[in-house]
């Protein structure tokens, strides 16, 4: 087990260095000199330019600059925003809980609905329900979610007035920030109205962002269940005279879940992609919204640092999924 663990951890080191290299090269590919870009339209005289170039180490050879960058990251320094003068890590930390909310809620929503639907479709294979669900699933997987979100706002917020249009909570509530997670903070503040408001703000983004994982999970569960239902041990369980629901849920679903769990774990990156669009549509103050704004403001250090953090995060999540998978399934540990 220890060897498996160490093996997986060493495997990510080259990926890790590669990711930092990619984010390092990012700033160098931007047309124009970084210092001149930073100086903006005010311009800068050549003497100052040379001095600043020296200060930032830009007169060094590229490999030296890269090594310095690696050391800087190893110290936990991700750079500084050119607009707000805050460190990138500081800004990221403040916005990240909002994005976690917008990742965990859709996945939970998708699992709660997708799993049972997939199981039913597999058990009733070839039925109208099965065909209907598979049709809905491929439609959900083809959905341009930026359009889907706007249509949802148009119908549920503007026309029907059921949910708020955007944001995380109504302006009338002030919630003391403690964890950064709106639901937890509202819970702590003991304000029922604030809780309801935060919850109602979360419903629409959750459903919209959850559409794609829901489609994928329903489909995966169905095909994985179909495979398992043909196995000998299922026939044995049936022959023993066990009740059909028990066979399906206890014997089949438990084994069918392994690939589904892997897909869920590995789709975190995809969810972050979706979060960029969803946060933009719902004015959700999260990491995706922040990155898009950094592009519009040409705040390249934020884009660089933010992309790097997201990349590292995905590596760590994938590693976690890998290890859990190895833990669940002893066969792949070797």
């Amino acid at each position: 087990m220890l060897r498996f663990l160490l093996g997986r951890v060493t495997l990510i080191i080259p990926t890790f260095i590669g990711v930092t290299f990619l984010s390092f090269i990012l700033l160098h590919l931007v047309p124009g000199d970084p210092i001149e870009v930073r100086a903006g339209e005010r311009g800068i005289n050549p003497a100052q330019l040379a001095e600043l170039r020296h200060e930032y180490g830009l007169d060094q050879p590229l490999w030296k600059q890269f090594l310095d960058y690696e050391m800087q990251i190893a110290r936990g320094d991700l750079g500084q925003s050119m607009v707000t003068r805050q460190t990138v890590w500081h800004e990221f930390k403040a916005l990240f809980p909002a994005t976690i909310e917008l990742t965990v809620c859709p996945i939970t929503f998708a699992l709660l609905i997708g799993l049972p639907l997939g199981v039913i479709a597999a058990v009733k294979r070839g039925s109208a329900f099965d065909y209907g669900l598979m049709g809905a699933s491929v439609t959900g997987a083809s959905m341009p979610i930026f359009w889907w979100g706007l249509m949802a706002i148009l119908v549920f917020s503007v026309a029907l007035g059921w949910t708020p249009v955007s944001g995380r909570i109504s302006d009338q509530y002030f919630v003391q920030q403690w964890s950064g997670f709106m639901m937890i903070d509202c819970w702590r503040s003991d304000d029922a109205g604030a809780c309801r408001s935060a919850l109602s703000h979360l419903i629409l983004p959750t459903c919209v962002l959850g559409t794609y994982p829901l489609a994928i999970i329903a489909r995966m569960t169905r095909s994985s269940m179909l495979e398992v239902l043909h196995e000998d041990y299922i026939r044995t369980a049936r022959a023993k005279g066990l009740m059909a629901p028990r066979v399906v849920i206890v014997h089949a679903l438990r084994n069918a879940l392994i690939p589904v769990v892997t897909v869920v774990g590995l789709s975190v990156g995809g969810l972050l992609s979706g979060a960029i669009l969803t946060e933009t549509i719902f004015s959700w103050p999260g990491v995706g919204h922040w990155l898009i704004e950094s592009i519009q403001r040409r705040d390249y250090p934020v884009l660089q640092g933010g992309t790097l953090v997201v990349g590292i995060l995905v590596i760590l999540v994938n590693l976690g999924v890998d290890l859990t998978y190895g833990f669940l399934n002893p066969r792949i540990r070797r």
């Binding site: 080259p14 990926t15 590669g18 990711v19 990619l22 990012l26 590919l29 931007v30 047309p31 049709g135 491929v138 439609t139 997987a141 083809s142 959905m143 341009p144 930026f146 359009w147 889907w148 706007l150 249509m151 148009l154 503007v158 990156g269 995809g270 972050l272 992609s273 979706g274 960029i276 669009l277 933009t280 990155l291 898009i292 592009i295 519009q296 884009l303 992309t307 997201v310 990349g311 995905v314 590596i315 994938n318």
Partner: protein, 300 residues
């Protein structure tokens, strides 16, 4: 005399051609046939956009701002699906948009296919350090959420349709590379490859004319599904203002332009997005059907 007779009788007995066999198993999947139908319609719309569309996609009718569709009160027969905020005909813009979307899909998919296959085959044939280097690079590209990576690339290169297509091609590259490497590796272990090698075929011939044709089936499926991804991602970039720039009638860009008005004029929002959905759905259905028809292992 008898010889001609046998040849005349022969065709009906002959086994159906592989194309016909393929069509038979493809046509079993109703969704795939519908997808193909939509694709053909889109191609026709794109090819004859100049004839079909009644208006220019960028002409602004100053007297018809935000005209609703024909079936709503205030609709105008000249603009069946209404007009946008500067008085451009929605239907004509959508038709010209089909041209752009297909162009985006074709360019992105073929660019990614060509580069990805070459990289994948090189990795499989060369092995060793080259293999590791190429595959590690692909792993690194896969680490980043695809849309984020595309956004970063466009942010560096500057917004625009061409750069957006380039970005989406880079983002979808790892899929093709991994797929072609994996299937080339499994082909390389076969006897016919060893035989060709013994017969003195050079590495290039071995790569492209011996092994590649046998790896094509999964790649064809990947291209069809890649079309869908390319159109979706390019539209998302357009929506974020990083893809095609106004007044280009690209569907994602049209949605971005609709943002300020959609609460008053639903048609400005509904139709372009629906067009994206239908197109992406058609390519996905077609790709799924193609996979079922081409991969005998999945057939039940």
């Amino acid at each position: 005399m008898s010889l001609t007779q046998t040849t005349a009788v022969a065709p009906p007995i002959a086994a159906p051609g592989s194309l016909r066999l393929f069509w038979r198993s493809f046509a079993e999947n109703r969704g795939a046939v519908i997808g193909l139908g939509v694709m053909v319609t889109l191609v026709l719309l794109a090819a004859f956009a100049d004839v079909i569309a009644r208006h220019s996609p960028i002409e602004q009718y100053r007297t018809h701002f935000l005209t609703p569709p024909i079936w709503q009160p205030g609709g105008d027969a000249a603009f069946p699906l209404g007009t946008d905020d500067v008085g451009r005909d929605m239907l004509s813009r959508l038709i010209y948009g089909a041209r752009l979307s297909l162009m985006i899909g074709t360019s992105v998919a073929s660019l990614a296919l060509l580069t990805g296959t070459t990289l994948g085959l090189t990795a499989a044939f060369a092995g060793g350090v080259i293999d590791i280097a190429i595959m590690r690079l692909m792993d690194i590209l896969l680490v980043f959420p695809s849309l984020l990576l595309a956004i970063v690339i466009v942010a560096i290169l500057g917004p625009g349709l061409f750069n957006a297509m380039l970005a989406v091609a880079v983002v979808t590259l790892p899929g093709y590379t991994r797929l072609s490497r994996a299937s080339a590796l499994s082909e390389l272990a076969r006897d016919y490859v060893a035989a060709t090698r013994c017969a003195g075929a050079g590495p290039l011939r071995l790569m492209f004319s011996t092994v590649l044709p046998n790896c094509l089936a999964p790649l064809i499926v990947q291209v069809s599904l890649g079309f869908a991804t390319a159109i979706l991602d390019a539209a998302a970039l357009g929506f974020l203002g990083l893809g095609a720039q106004p007044p280009t009638p690209e569907w994602g860009t049209m949605l971005a332009g609709a943002l300020q008005f959609y609460q008053r004029a639903w048609w400005v929002l509904a139709f372009p997005g629906f067009a994206i959905l239908i197109t992406v759905l058609a390519f996905n259905l077609f790709g799924d059907g193609l996979r079922d028809a081409l991969d005998p292992k999945l057939k039940r």
